[in-house]
């Protein structure tokens, strides 16, 4: 057997985390992308930059600030304790929050580009055909942005799958709770279990390749990387 029970546990946890984070990101990221694509507010630049920050920020830096913010003395920590959720670091819920922030730009950017590419006209046409703005969004804007949504889903999922730095900072390495795939690979290498590390690393490599290839096959003209 190639995978140990610990490996399987890490794989399961990682898949649950990535799926949950992707779903949350599509829910949260789509309105943000819509706002960034269409708002004329002067806050558009700063907020766009904040959303994109994880693209350039070292994951450990992000993880460090999240650890402080979600800790017992941090603002998020106060809030989560007040709501009876306890403290988020070193819990799966902390990983979810951190991953949502960390993978945000990978989801928001493709959706924003798709919304911008649609332009105003199709929505104006819908409004002139008696569609309410919300109706126009769901019946015209969202279907037309489908390629962008698909790319966002794939990028958000695969990016969450491989994160290491942020998890290390706020999640630790707790088996079954916060020990994700990249952690497990690190543990194997630490223990000089190279065969085990190869199986997991090779699996991730193959997965990533298939994802990028499928993106290309889906739309050869669109360059996402």
């Amino acid at each position: 057997m190639a995978f140990t029970p610990d490996d399987w546990s890490a794989i399961r946890l990682t898949l649950i985390l990535a799926s949950l984070v992707t779903a949350l990101l599509l829910l949260v990221g789509t309105p943000i992308a819509w706002w960034l694509a269409r708002s004329k507010s002067r806050w558009r630049g700063p907020i766009g930059a904040v959303v994109s920050l994880p693209l350039v920020l070292p994951p450990t830096v992000l993880g460090f600030y999240l650890l402080v913010a979600m800790g017992p003395d941090g603002p998020v920590g106060h809030l989560s304790q007040m709501l009876g959720l306890g403290l988020l670091p070193f819990h799966f819920s902390g990983l979810v929050v951190a991953s949502v922030l960390y993978s945000m730009p990978f989801v928001v950017q493709p959706i924003r580009n798709a919304f911008e590419a649609i332009g105003e006209r199709p929505l104006e046409v819908a409004l002139c055909l008696r569609a309410r703005p919300v109706d126009a969004f769901f019946s015209v804007a969202l279907p037309l942005a489908r390629p962008g949504l698909l790319i966002a889903t794939i990028l958000g999922f695969s990016h969450t799958l491989g994160e290491f730095g942020v998890v290390l900072m706020i999640g630790g390495n707790i088996p079954g709770k916060t020990r994700v795939l990249s952690m497990q690979i690190y543990n194997h290498v630490e223990a000089l279990e190279y065969t085990q590390a190869h199986w997991l690393a090779g699996g991730l490599l193959a997965f990533s390749f298939v994802v990028l290839l499928s993106l290309f096959l889906f739309d050869p003209k669109r360059r996402v990387f």
Partner: protein, 357 residues
């Protein structure tokens, strides 16, 4: 009635328009590009929100900034046909048509599905994808889609501008039929005078964001104080009625208030109303009736007014033929030789008449 008053400014452009037109038939918004025609249409549709605005359509207030009323676009009973057909690319032709139709409450449906489909002859296209259509077909579908939402006012923004001349001729008859069969008032933006003379009943002239004239088409086109009179293609439209067919010479006689006009034989039913266009450059004047000329169409008229043209050699003359205004472009030399003056009775000779049909 459509009563509108908008004030709107962008860097480099401002619109200050007050409009008062009957909400029936076709009203053309005519002017050079950049004159604010499209902006005016967008304000009426509620796609632009002028800070200072008032709009009343068919007795309903759509906008009144003094009372903070601004009806959002989807609550205004209007249809909008854009310059490009703008069909929804993710829907079939049928679903495009259904979009507005399905969102119209059954009680408000004035246009039947089959009527619109037959009128624009798009039955065979219903199952097609939108990228498998010609430009003319796309625009016909866009028009049908707008009409199927049973609008109380149809806004058309140069719907033919993106088409070549052949496709334009293909669409024009549909627009005329639309006009005749559906009692939907139309605001039609154009910078093509031939489209305007063919379709419009009312004419609104715009220039640099201002409305410079507004009135019935024939009357407005005959005004010498407007830029339309300076146009190379300046001319008038005449409402006439098919009176007789001359089988021997293959001609049809059309009667108007000033007399009869012969055109090449046309398959018109006798008694049918038609619109004619006579361009000022095709009209010449004589002091007496000339029998010895090949020009067939001659009738008496009175000189009403003169105006200079961009070309100093020419002069524009407005005439009255028993209540029908006409324009003639002459050289100043001819004017002096004939000693033309206001009030003078003359014979009008018309070389070319275009039947708008």
């Amino acid at each position: 009635m459509i009563r509108a008053k908008f004030e709107l400014s962008f860097p480099g452009f401002s619109l200050q328009a007050a409009l008062d037109i009957p909400a029936r038939g076709v009203t053309a918004l005519f002017g050079p590009s950049g004159s604010g025609k499209t902006m005016l249409l967008r304000c009426i549709a509620g796609l632009e929100h002028p800070v200072d605005g008032y709009l009343e359509v068919n007795g309903e207030t759509w906008q009144d900034e003094s009372k903070s009323i601004f009806l959002p676009t989807h609550q205004r009973s209007l249809g909008y046909v854009f310059q490009e057909a703008s069909l929804f690319p993710h829907m079939s032709v049928r679903r495009n048509l259904e979009y507005g139709y399905a969102r119209t409450p059954a009680a408000e449906r004035k246009v039947a599905w089959n009527h619109a489909v037959d009128l624009l002859e798009i039955g065979p296209l219903l199952q097609r994808a939108t990228d498998r259509l010609s430009g003319g077909e796309r625009q016909r579908i866009a028009i049908a889609r707008a009409v199927l939402a049973s609008p109380g006012l149809l806004l058309m923004d140069e719907p033919l501008a993106a088409l070549d001349n052949l496709r334009k001729r293909e669409i024009l008859p549909f627009l005329e039929r639309l006009h005749q069969e559906l009692a939907i008032p139309v605001l039609y933006v154009s910078h093509q005078i031939d489209e305007v003379t063919r379709l419009a009943d009312q004419l609104v002239l715009l220039d640099a964001g201002r409305i410079i004239a507004s009135g019935p088409l024939a009357e407005t086109l005959a005004r010498l104080d407007l830029p339309t009179a300076q146009d190379e293609d300046a001319g008038v439209v005449i409402e006439a009625r098919a009176a007789a067919h001359d089988t021997r010479y293959h001609l049809t006689r059309l009667d108007f208030s000033g007399g009869g006009i012969y055109v090449a034989h046309s398959a018109l039913a006798l008694g049918q109303d038609v619109r004619l266009r006579i361009q000022a450059r095709d009209v010449s004047l004589a002091l007496a009736e000339h029998q010895d000329t090949s020009i067939l169409n001659r009738f008496p008229a009175t000189v009403m007014e003169f105006a200079g043209t961009n070309n100093p050699a020419n002069v524009m003359v407005r005439l009255d033929a028993a209540g029908t205004p006409l324009l003639a472009r002459l050289t100043r030399r001819s004017q002096h030789q004939l000693d033309l003056a206001v009030g003078r009775r003359v014979w009008v000779q018309v070389k070319t008449v275009a039947l708008m049909e």
